[in-house]
């Protein structure tokens, strides 16, 4: 869907040449065309087999392995493994082979299982029976045997087995209803039309006699686009040529509704169906954390290589004396002596690489993946984000971006359906200056409401009465609303007016609101039957209008029209559209009054539409018909031609009036926006709506406040001054306002500073984005960005979907590379959702396209608050700790081995036994960090929600910056030095047992390892702020496991091992008192600096988060205890301002709880 949409949009807006699509010719029912017609080269089409599976039984192993080793990390581990296999290395291949094998197997099993499910589903799909017509008889076959050109019969509630051209229906009028819920999520019924010339073929025999060919374009993924033509041959006449459009096309995956059965001919089958073409995996988005992880990885790779290099060089320097290279007690074999020096050096280098390769652990990738996958369930499980009304909960489409939710700096939000309910209610209409408000009390009565507008004449005369009725009729006719004629079909909107319950369905909620509004004003649209629209007028008479043409709505024209013929034979064109697209085409009517009313309504935040009409004389209509027909039959550029035709037809209109529809704000939208702004997130509203409406919504949802100074960058202003001047003026204003203060810190938060809101419209934006002749476009962009950065809120109105994506891209690629989040609910938001770092879809009324293309989908806009401020924050601190901790613990792990090389003659002797090398990352230290990264809550959820400013503490990847990274690395280095030299001095020249016996090198390694496992685990315990029983279980459990494992591993002579070097080593070590004391000492010393740093930082430079952490225990459970004194101290401290000399504390000060609590009282919805 994503790609096709973008492609369509590109075609539509970038005015690029449409690529020539080769056409295909299909013989309906495989009947050859009569001789004499052009000979076509027969084409080969795929069968109707759907293959969504990636692998087959045979290629699973090689293909899956190939795919897995394409990941750079896996490939690295494979190389290490191979090096271990090939050359003589210090560690056995098992140490890296086993984890790699584990990872690869688990992934393969997971992918294999998923693929097996896909195979199963594919088989079910491919084998489900389909009804064919063969020689006039009904035959059942498996779906996969369907071929292009087969005639298929589909019954009600069946899904279409492939893309079909709709030939005939059991309905008289040759229509059928279809839901495409599984394609684009729109559950509303859509009407499709059978080909005019074939709709008479109702029975199997008839349809078997059909002799026709279809020419159409080659398959393309756009669901809503289709062009083709059908030639129907009858025995007597020349072939009839008919255009085919998307209204004749029934798509695979859609379901037939309300129609007994239909016949269709297969034109696209199998993987060529539009549904299959739309199945494309989304481009992979990578989070900022992942990027910094990769940077750290490269750093460690450099460290690794330099370590190996240093050791290799030192080895050969050290060995330059033969008695060291080959002392008498350690002779080499003849073959070893004869090896080439450089080859030896290279092998040694590789061996050192292997020895230190654990610094980049396989398990980190596994743990990160697991953390993301499992962690994302917390979003879907979250009760607060479950919407009772719709029964929808949040969806996580990708778990790769969880932590990115904690890093968002810009939120781009759609307006309609996202900030607002997209629950339209007809408010009023204005007919030639008179305002009509439907009122519940006076049902069916027209109440001219005089307030707020000058009426031209207060007593509606005959002419105005006439135009009034024409207006109502226009609204009743000019739409694509369908009437639901049975109850059990679900519709997005149930009429509130239960008296004459008619359920209207439309893809646009505005239309439904209008038709319902008309109903309340006395004109009820009944149905469309045999291309006659029936209206029940105020006198309860049924009026019938013949529907001649529909000039359907599109977002470029921003209007739609119908051409109808009244019972009296008059032909009308009714046009309904946005004011900006209707007013220029109006030549008559009370334009000024209507315009002022429209503007008034727009300021109120109502959605306005203007209605105009013109009467057509039959000759004119004939011309129009021809024009349209020509455009419709065109195989190429049909859309362009249609647009041109529409342009010609919709002109010289007479203005009837305008309507106003209210779209209510979503619940807590204002609260959410305010919270986001407090969190330092800039909120931009991107909407296709007009400026006044959008601005009103922005005021309503507190994006703009009264104090906000609005800056306009609109077409109107640019008409007055040049773009250049306007931009410079704006930037001057903005820069003067922000002055010398750091704007990032203060924008949007402090009240005493003037904050700016920018309004820009689509046209102005395209001017800015358009590269100028002299190529200096960058200047405008920079200037524009500069202005934007200084504004607390930006409103972009009149945006085309692609422009939304452009804006997102512009910000995304600006020099600070901020993390962007786009949120929207409709198909028009898909492009920006795909463009932004994080795309969030609202599971809304306009179908599920946005939700399906998004990374996360939520039911309501208000859920964004919890998702970013709570979940995002948690995910971020969890994953950043995970990444840092993993590198830290592996520095601890590998550095002692490096140091040991200086004491073992650079001989690549390992310090630890193979089992410990293998299991360190897999089992001794893996679970605590995994569970930490799933459970940790450094601050309570309520605190995070109460105080959005805490979000600033982690902004800009704060926990993974170089400073933090270096701190962790140095901590690791320090700990490693402590372990190694602690053990070294312990073992130097003495015995440590009370029986005088001596320990060997494995006990030495064991001591280092034991101290390390305990330190590393306890370090995590120190970092854990949220000790659930699970944390206790895994932290103490994994230490216990280590001890038990060591007892077992050393306690038995393992028959399958050819060496027994660990036999009783651990137990002997435990029998030595000094070893215990040494472990305690080493662990304490290793943890000391970190504890010191934590305590001092908390005391001297507390972050906002730490300030929030503090008072909590004093309230919660430490109140009446003896420590009370200490905690009162704390409370004082917390209320106090930090010492003025401390720079970093400055900005924390402004967001300390004390200062933001008064602000948060504003959060209660007004």
């Amino acid at each position: 869907m994503d790609c096709s949409l973008v492609r369509t949009l590109v075609h539509r807006y970038c005015a690029g040449e449409e690529n020539w699509v080769d056409s295909r010719t299909i013989y309906v029912g495989h009947r050859e065309p009569p001789p004499g017609t052009e000979a076509y080269i027969p084409q080969r089409y795929p069968d109707n087999r759907i293959v969504s599976s990636k692998y087959t039984f045979w290629n699973f192993v090689p293909k899956n392995l190939f795919e897995q080793f394409r990941r750079i990390a896996n490939f690295y581990f494979l190389i290490i493994f191979l090096v271990q296999l090939i050359i003589d290395t210090p560690t056995s291949p098992v140490t890296s082979g086993l984890p790699l094998f584990f990872v690869i197997t688990v992934t393969a099993i997971k992918q294999g299982y998923e693929d097996w499910l896909r195979h199963k589903a594919d088989n079910a799909m491919n084998q489900c029976p389909v009804h064919f017509i063969q020689h006039g008889k009904l035959v059942r076959k498996q779906s996969r045997k369907l071929r292009v050109g087969d005639i298929v019969m589909v019954k009600e509630n069946e899904t279409f087995p492939c893309d079909l051209i709709f030939l005939s229906s059991s309905r008289e009028d040759g229509t059928c209803h279809v839901t495409t819920a599984s394609l684009d999520g729109e559950s509303s019924h859509k009407t499709h039309y059978a080909v005019q010339d074939t709709k008479g073929f109702h029975t199997e025999e008839d349809i078997g006699q059909l002799h026709a060919t279809i020419e159409c374009e080659q398959p393309q993924p756009d669901l809503y686009k289709f062009a083709g033509r059908i030639n129907v041959y009858s025995d007597l006449n020349d072939p009839m040529v008919r255009p085919l459009g998307s209204e004749n096309l029934l798509l695979r995956g859609a379901t037939l509704k309300n129609t007994e059965k239909i016949f269709g001919v297969a034109i696209y089958t199998g993987m060529e169906t539009k549904m299959a073409l739309n199945y494309q995996s989304k481009s992979q988005k990578r989070s900022a954390v992942e990027k910094s992880m990769n940077v750290f990885l490269i750093v460690y790779l450099c460290i690794l290589i330099s370590k190996a290099l240093i050791n290799t060089v030192l080895k050969y320097v050290w060995q330059s004396e033969t008695f060291r290279d080959e002392p008498w007690y350690n002779q080499k074999t003849e073959s070893e002596r004869q090896r080439n020096l450089f080859l030896r050096a290279f092998t040694d280098f590789l061996a050192f690489m292997v020895l230190f390769n654990y610094i980049i652990p396989v398990s980190m990738y596994v743990t990160v993946e697991m953390q993301k996958f499992l962690g994302s369930y917390f979003i879907t499980w979250d009760e607060d984000m479950f919407d009772e009304d719709t029964g929808e909960g949040p969806l996580v489409n990708t778990s790769d971006l969880n932590e990115e939710l904690g890093q968002v700096e810009y939120v781009f939000t759609d307006k309609t359906g996202t900030l607002t309910e997209n629950n339209m209610e007809f408010k009023e209409c204005c007919i030639g200056g008179h305002v009509y408000v439907p009122h519940a009390v006076c049902n069916g009565q027209v109440l001219p409401d005089a307030t707020g507008i000058d009426m031209i004449d207060s007593s509606p005369g005959v002419s105005s009465r006439e135009s009034e009725e024409l207006f109502f009729r226009a609204l009743c006719l000019c739409h694509t609303v369908q009437v639901k004629d049975d109850d059990n079909v679900d519709g997005p909107r149930v009429s509130l007016d239960s008296g004459k319950s008619c359920v209207y369905i439309s893809s646009s909620p505005d239309e439904v609101a209008l038709v319902e509004g008309m109903q309340r004003l006395g004109f009820t649209y009944l149905r469309l039957k045999d291309s006659y629209m029936e209206i029940l007028n105020r006198d309860n008479d049924i009026e019938r209008f013949e529907l001649l043409e529909i000039l359907s709505f599109d977002s470029v024209r921003r209007r739609m029209s119908v051409i109808v013929k009244s019972a009296a034979g008059e032909i009308y064109l009714f046009c309904k559209g946005a004011d900006s697209s209707v007013f220029p085409r109006v030549i008559e009517g009370k334009v000024e009054q209507v315009r002022s009313r429209v503007e008034h309504n727009a300021v109120e935040g109502l959605r306005t539409l203007c209605i105009a009409y013109k009467r057509l004389i039959p000759e004119e209509y004939e011309g129009i018909c021809k024009l349209l027909q020509a455009a419709k039959v065109a195989l190429q550029d049909r859309e362009k031609k249609l647009a041109e035709a529409y342009e010609q037809i919709e002109k010289d209109l007479i203005l009837l009036g305008a309507t106003a529809v209210e779209d209510r704000l979503q619940e807590k939208a204002a609260d959410t926006i305010e919270a986001l702004q407090k969190a330092g997130i800039k909120v931009w509203v991107l909407t296709g709506d007009k400026m006044e409406t959008a601005a009103a919504t922005c005021y309503a949802c507190k994006l703009f406040r009264r104090s906000t100074q609005l800056l306009e960058l609109t077409t109107k202003k640019i008409e007055e001054q040049s773009l250049h001047d306007v931009l410079f003026e704006l930037s001057k204003t903005v820069l003067r306002g922000s002055g010398s203060l750091t704007r990032d810190t203060f924008s949007g938060l402090s009240a005493d500073l003037q904050d700016y809101g920018l309004i820009i419209d689509g046209a102005a934006l395209s001017l800015i984005m358009k590269p100028r002749e002299d190529g200096s476009s960058a200047n405008y962009r920079e200037l524009f960005l500069e202005v934007c950065r200084n504004c607390s809120a930006v409103l972009c109105c009149r945006m085309a979907p692609l422009q939304k994506a452009q804006i997102v891209k512009l910000i995304k690629l600006s020099k600070e590379h901020p993390i962007t989040l786009a949120i929207g609910d409709g198909a028009n938001d898909v492009s920006m959702i795909l463009e932004a770092h994080v795309g969030v879809g609202i599971i809304g009324k306009e179908g599920r396209q946005a939700a399906r293309n998004s990374d996360y989908a939520i039911p309501k806009f208000k859920h964004l608050k919890k998702m970013l401020l709570v979940h995002g924050h948690f995910y971020y601190i969890r994953i950043s700790e995970l990444v840092q901790y993993f590198f830290y613990k592996n520095v601890c792990f590998v550095l002692p081995q490096f140091l040991f090389q200086f004491f073992c003659g650079f001989s690549q002797q390992t310090l630890y036994d193979t089992a410990y090398l293998t299991l360190y990352n897999i089992s001794f230290t893996s679970l605590p960090i995994l569970l930490y990264s799933l459970m940790e809550q450094h601050v309570s959820m309520d605190a995070l929600r109460r105080d959005p400013a805490l979000y600033r503490d982690i902004a800009k990847n704060a926990l993974l910056r170089w400073r933090a990274f270096i701190y962790w690395t140095f901590l690791g280095v320090f700990d490693a030095l402590v372990f190694f030299f602690g053990a070294y001095f312990m073992f130097e020249n003495t015995t440590v047992t009370n029986n005088g016996q001596i320990f060997g090198n494995w006990t030495f390694g064991m001591l280092v390892f034991t101290a390390m496992v305990f330190t590393v685990t306890l370090k995590l315990a120190l970092d854990t702020h949220y000790w659930t029983w699970i944390n206790h279980f895994v932290i103490w459990g994994s230490l216990l496991f280590y001890v038990v494992f060591s007892l077992l591993w050393g306690g038995i002579i393992w028959p399958f091992l050819n060496y027994q070097r660990m036999y009783y080593v651990f137990i002997q070590m435990l029998s030595s008192g000094p070893a215990w004391l040494a472990v305690v000492l080493l662990v304490t010393v290793s943890l000391l600096p970190d504890v010191l740093k934590k305590v001092l930082c908390r005391q001297l430079w507390p972050t906002a988060t730490e300030r929030v952490q503090n008072p909590q225990p004093s309230d919660a459970w430490c109140g009446p205890r003896p420590q009370d004194v200490a905690f009162t101290f704390w409370k004082n401290e917390e209320d106090a301002a930090p010492p003025p000399s401390l720079g970093p504390a400055q900005d924390c000060h402004s967001c300390s709880p004390r200062h933001s609590f008064p602000g948060s009282s504003l959060e209660t919805p007004v």
């Binding site: 008498w328 029964g391 390992t910 959820m941 001596i998 060997g1000």
Partner: protein, 371 residues
């Protein structure tokens, strides 16, 4: 209509699921389970590492460490050590002759020398005799793997088929398997010592009995190292078909006359086979605990007769002989005590620093508050 709508929502949560699994990856939206776990509201202990907790912790830990440190320091100080470098550098006693004689010859000729020392007072026992080698890389990787644990555990097949790691000490030039194979075994320390005590000046030297058992780990001696099954009750026959390592003067079954201390379970051999961690290392040679010497070495003059075989000068090493007493914490090692003292004082020091910081900024904050 609400339940119906909810129903639809559920169905809509997985669009296309009925048609294809393509969108089955989107996890279904369903009414979430309201458990403490899924809502991330499990009851939890939320400790904070604040100054008020850390300060007492630091002081307590500091005091405890200093206490322990003092104990360790004094108990290490109570341990006596007497060591003598008998490598035989020129002009360092009579072993220099042996060293010079053995220069460059491998295996060097047997040579004897002696070390005389006298004790003014009782050397508190039990006394352990160690030898120390320096610059000897027992932890070299190539050296460390050059052994066959299967052979050493008495597996007959392995006896005749030593592991490849043993090369170049896997098979003799004649192709016979070497038992025990490998570089470690080949380089077995073969100096021997005997201790003589002269009670009165001018009196006769009495040999002090050296207990050469119990110097290896109990498990090594009893479990890990096993002789191959006897053939006709003879260990020598069991080893028939093998040759001793090239540096050895006698076959492995003649290492000692004691049948429980010969072959692979010879304790000297077992001790040697436990490779040391660092290039300077000690190994236990004997315990002195018999007869009159169980309480220690009484005052008097002593002579250690050294059979000087082991060449160390080739790799720049030294050989030392050490008498050491043992306490509960092992041999003399002041490191642990000093380390504990230093860390303990550091704890207290940082505790004070933190206290100062704590109080200072407390005051300052209060002042700021008053402003």
């Amino acid at each position: 209509a609400a339940p119906r709508l909810a129903q639809r929502g559920r169905g809509g949560g997985r669009p296309g699921a009925a048609a294809m699994t393509w969108s089955a990856t989107a996890r279904g939206a369903h009414q979430p389970d309201n458990t403490a776990f899924t809502q991330q509201r499990l009851p939890a202990w939320q400790p904070l590492l604040s100054a008020s907790i850390a300060l007492p912790l630091f002081f307590c830990a500091g005091l405890a460490f200093i206490g322990l440190g003092l104990g360790l320091y004094y108990s290490s100080n109570g341990i006596k050590e007497l060591e003598y470098d008998y490598t035989g550098d020129a002009g360092t006693g009579n072993c220099s002759l042996c060293a010079a004689a053995g220069q460059g010859r491998a295996p060097p000729p047997s040579c004897s020398c002696a070390w005389y020392f006298s004790l003014a007072e009782l050397f508190q026992g039990p006394v352990y005799l160690y030898y120390e080698l320096t610059n000897f890389y027992q932890n070299n990787r190539r050296y460390g793997v050059s052994r066959d644990d299967r052979q050493l555990s008495g597996v007959r097949f392995a006896l005749f088929h030593p592991a490849n790691e043993c090369a170049p000490y896997q098979r003799s030039a004649g192709g016979l398997p070497i038992a025990p194979c490998g570089a470690i075994a080949n380089s077995l320390f073969n100096d021997s010592f005997s201790l003589w005590h002269q009670r009165q000046p001018g009196g006769p030297y009495v040999e002090v009995p050296l207990d050469r058992t119990g110097i290896a780990w109990w498990t090594d001696y009893h479990v890990k190292f096993r002789n191959p099954p006897l053939v006709n009750g003879s260990l020598a026959l069991a080893f028939r078909g093998t040759v001793p390592p090239p540096n050895w003067h006698r076959p492995v079954y003649e290492l000692s006359r004691d049948p429980n201390n010969t072959g692979f379970i010879n304790q000297d051999f077992v001790v040697w086979m436990r490779t040391a961690a660092l290039p300077t290392f000690r190994k236990l040679y004997a315990r002195i605990r018999q007869g009159n010497y169980s309480a220690g070495l009484p005052r008097g003059a002593y002579r250690v007769n050294i059979t000087y075989n082991y060449p160390v000068r080739a790799f720049g090493g030294h050989k030392l002989l050490i008498f050491s007493s043992i306490s509960w914490m092992g041999g003399k090692n002041p490191f642990l005590g000093i380390a504990y003292l230093v860390v303990g004082s550091l704890c207290i020091l940082t505790g004070f620093v933190m206290l100062v910081v704590y109080i200072r900024y407390q005051d300052q904050d209060d002042d700021d508050d008053d402003d």
